[in-house]
Symmetry: C2
Subunit: 108 residues, 2 copies
């Protein structure tokens, strides 16, 4: 997992923070499949992910409607239900509009 | 590290994605100090952090001006310089306005 290569703002970030329940229960396979599937959606810009206890996944989208459309994709809806029922102890989703972005060399 | 307890949107999220250089070089101590110091700033709402290779830290602020003021706090300016020079191979900062937030039980 590495940096998402996003365009200049504005664009949409979906910040997904979670704690996992015990056991894999098919999580790793489905998680990888969801990243692949997300990458095929219109308006997908990239995704960044890290977990050590708390997990944080930020997916980036061209706009809010692209992010909202991904939320409704059938296989993703099924994964979301399994997430609520089995994989996650708790989670929080925050939808945000990125207004500024910079790295060590300035704006990008 | 656990979930940030944020109020209903809108508020500001600063998404800091990074890769570390080799060695600690004072990073862990300074990192903990910066979290403590951030928590004392006006408009601080919370912070969430995870790292496994890629590191993602999201800090939450009442508004953009609160986030911008934290960027200018002297000890934080010093830490930012040391981050650029020593601790991070690369990083990206994205400032975003959270417009919607929900968990497994709906809006919160």
């Amino acid at each position: 997992m590495t940096f998402a290569q996003t365009p200049p703002p504005p664009y949409t970030a979906v910040i997904f923070t979670s704690t996992r329940s015990a056991g894999d229960n098919g999580y790793e396979v489905m998680s990888a499949r969801m990243v692949e599937l997300a990458a095929q959606q219109p308006g997908f810009l990239g995704v960044e992910s890290a977990r050590d206890g708390l997990g944080i996944t930020v997916s980036y989208w061209a706009d809010e409607s692209a992010a909202a459309a991904w939320k409704q994709v059938t296989q993703h809806v099924i994964a979301q239900k399994r997430g609520r029922d089995v994989w996650y102890d708790d989670y929080q989703v925050r939808v945000a509009t990125v207004v500024r972005s910079y790295g060590p060399d300035g704006l990008r």
